[in-house]
Structure formats: structure tokens, C-alpha cells
């Protein structure tokens, strides 16, 4: 709890207090829990994916073009987020904020497409209540989407704090952590892309 600095200057700013190190480690462990959480959703989807109950199937509703665009948006945002952290480690507040904002715009674009996708599904008759397949699909995608939405809101809070306080041990730590979160969502998306969309279109 004590925020005393272990003044080892070769460490990036976000690692410079004991509390920050603990927060970052704690967040990694939280990500471990998130892996299990998403794995459970994937398992559920894996079990229920072929149970269409007479409703639409994967081939009926997936639109590969949109999925590819979404994927590129999210991949790029993960990249720009990496650049933002890179700028932060070079102590450049402006660069950091600029890249963060770009990241959020890309994330927003992703979210916008995902919402459209959901609307499209419902129009196709693939709602939450339609079948085991649609239930598990929408909840898996929805959980990921909700994480993205939460990430955007959270990042905005952090940008506000960065603007107010500049680069301190606390703000850099918080920024680093949201960076981890954002990359993690990209990792999850890779698996959604592969095991939901591509598999659905192949199978």
C-alpha cells in the first residue's frame, strides 16, 4: 500500500512504485480469470453451435466481409494502442493521448459495426431466443462487445486523468493497464474470428 518509489530509473515509470507493480500483476491475474471466462463461453458455443432448432445457421447469417473489416479495425486499434504505450515510455504525453484517441476511434468503429451486425442478425430471425446456437453466439459476441464498450468508457476516464495530471507513476500505471486490457480483447477476438466465423463458414 505504501507508494514509496524504488528509484530504479531504468524501469518504465509505470513500474516504479511497489503499489504499481502489484496493480499490474493483479491485472494480469485478472486477465487469467478473463481467459477462463471466455473459454467457458467458447466451450458453450462449441457444444451448442450445431443446435439450430430449425432456426438460421452460421452460413445463413455470417457476412464475411463485415467480419474482416471488424477484424482489421480491432487489430489496428491494438497496434495503435501499442504505439500509445510506446509513446508513454518515451515520456511523450501528447503522442500518448493522440494514439489513445485513435485507438478509441477504431474501437468505436468496431463497436458500431458489431451493433449493426446484431441488428442484421435479429432481422434475419436470429435473436437471443431463437435457438441454442443463436443464444450462445450472441452471448459470446455480446460479452466481447461489452468488454470493448467498457474499455472505451474506461479509457476516456484515463485520458481525462492524463490531461489533468500528466505522466505520473499512477497515471502511467493506469494507462499501461488499460493497454493490457485492450490487447487482451484483441486476443479474444482472434479466437472468435477463427473458431466462430471462419469455422462457421467452413463447416
Amino acid at each position: 500500500m505504501s507508494a514509496n518509489l524504488t528509484a530504479s530509473s531504468d524501469l518504465p515509470l509505470e513500474y516504479q512504485s511497489e503499489q504499481s507493480k502489484m496493480n499490474i500483476l493483479g491485472f494480469w491475474i485478472f486477465l487469467g480469470a478473463e481467459i477462463v471466462l471466455f473459454a467457458t463461453l467458447f466451450g458453450v458455443y462449441g457444444v451448442l453451435a450445431e443446435r439450430h432448432a430449425g432456426g438460421p445457421t452460421q452460413q445463413d447469417i455470417f457476412v464475411i466481409k463485415d467480419v474482416l473489416i471488424q477484424t482489421v479495425l480491432l487489430l489496428t486499434s491494438s497496434f495503435t494502442c501499442g504505439i500509445a504505450i510506446f509513446e508513454m515510455r518515451r515520456n511523450r504525453l501528447k503522442g500518448l493521448i493522440t494514439w489513445l484517441v485513435i485507438t478509441l476511434l477504431l474501437g468505436g468503429g468496431f463497436l458500431f459495426m458489431e451493433i449493426n451486425e446484431f441488428i442484421h442478425y435479429v432481422h434475419e430471425g436470429a435473436a437471443l431466443q431463437t435457438s441454442a446456437f443463436t443464444s450462445s453466439l450472441l452471448v459470446l459476441l455480446g460479452t466481447h462487445g461489452a468488454h470493448v464498450a467498457l474499455g472505451i468508457g474506461w479509457a476516456i476516464l484515463i485520458i481525462m486523468q492524463l490531461l489533468k495530471r500528466g505522466l505520473t507513476t499512477e497515471t502511467t500505471r493506469k494507462t499501461f493497464i488499460i493497454g493490457l486490457y485492450w490487447h487482451f480483447l484483441d486476443v479474444v477476438w482472434i479466437f472468435i474470428f477463427t473458431f466462430v466465423y471462419l469455422e462457421g463458414l467452413v463447416g
Binding site: 531504468d10 524501469l11 518504465p12 513500474y15 507493480k21 499490474i24 500483476l25 494480469w28 491475474i29 486477465l31 487469467g32 481467459i35 477462463v36 471466455f38 473459454a39 467457458t40 467458447f42 466451450g43 458453450v44 462449441g46 457444444v47 464475411i64 474482416l68 477484424t71 482489421v72 487489430l75 489496428t76 491494438s78 497496434f79 494502442c81 501499442g82 504505439i83 510506446f86 515510455r89 518515451r90 493497454g179 493490457l180 490487447h183 487482451f184 484483441d186 486476443v187 482472434i190 479466437f191 474470428f193 477463427t194 473458431f195 471462419l198 469455422e199 463458414l201 467452413v202 463447416g203
Partner: protein, 101 residues
């Protein structure tokens, strides 16, 4: 992946980004444009996904850096193991025996 290694240009980020784009499109191409059997396709694109995830973890998330790098590696490995148990275990258990209709 120490921050000091790349002062001016974020070379590892750019490389990582390019690789992940390539992997993504490769996976899409294999899945949609080839005529391999589903099993083979799934093995290939599944491996690509795992590889790409590892790339993100190391190149973008700096998983191995800092004094807790080892803990992070153990943590994520264990998470991956749990994920495998949950996904493969559930599917195996629920599609075996009578359930295999």
C-alpha cells in the same frame, strides 16, 4: 522487450502488426478459398490463432517483462491450460456416449 531497446521507432510493434494482419488474412484465405477438409483447415487456422495470440502477448503486452515476468508466463500458461480443459473437456464429455446423436 525492454523499453530502452527501441528508442526512436516502434519497430517491434510495426512488425507484430504486419504479422498479425498477414496471419489473419492467411487464415481467412485458407478457410474460405481452399478445398482442404474441415479438420485440416481447423488445425491450421487454430494454430495460426494460437500463434497470433502469443505474438500479441509478447510483443504488445510485454508479458515477459518486469520482475513478475515469470509469474505472468505461468499465469497465462495456466489460463491457456484451463481454457483447453474447459473447451475440449466439455465438448468431449457432452458429445460422447448416448449424447452423440
Amino acid at each position: 522487450m525492454s523499453s530502452n531497446a527501441e528508442k526512436g521507432f516502434p519497430i517491434s510493434h510495426v512488425v507484430g502488426f504486419l504479422i498479425s494482419l498477414i496471419l489473419t488474412f492467411a487464415a481467412a484465405w485458407i478457410a474460405l478459398k481452399t478445398t482442404l477438409s474441415i479438420k485440416v483447415i481447423m488445425w491450421i487456422i487454430g494454430s495460426l490463432a494460437v500463434f497470433q495470440a502469443g505474438l500479441q502477448l509478447v510483443m504488445f503486452m510485454h508479458m515477459t517483462e518486469g520482475e513478475d515476468g515469470k509469474v505472468n508466463i505461468i499465469n497465462i500458461t495456466y489460463g491457456a491450460f484451463m481454457a483447453a480443459v474447459i473447451v475440449l473437456g466439455s465438448i468431449w464429455v457432452l458429445t460422447s456416449g448416448h449424447a452423440a446423436h
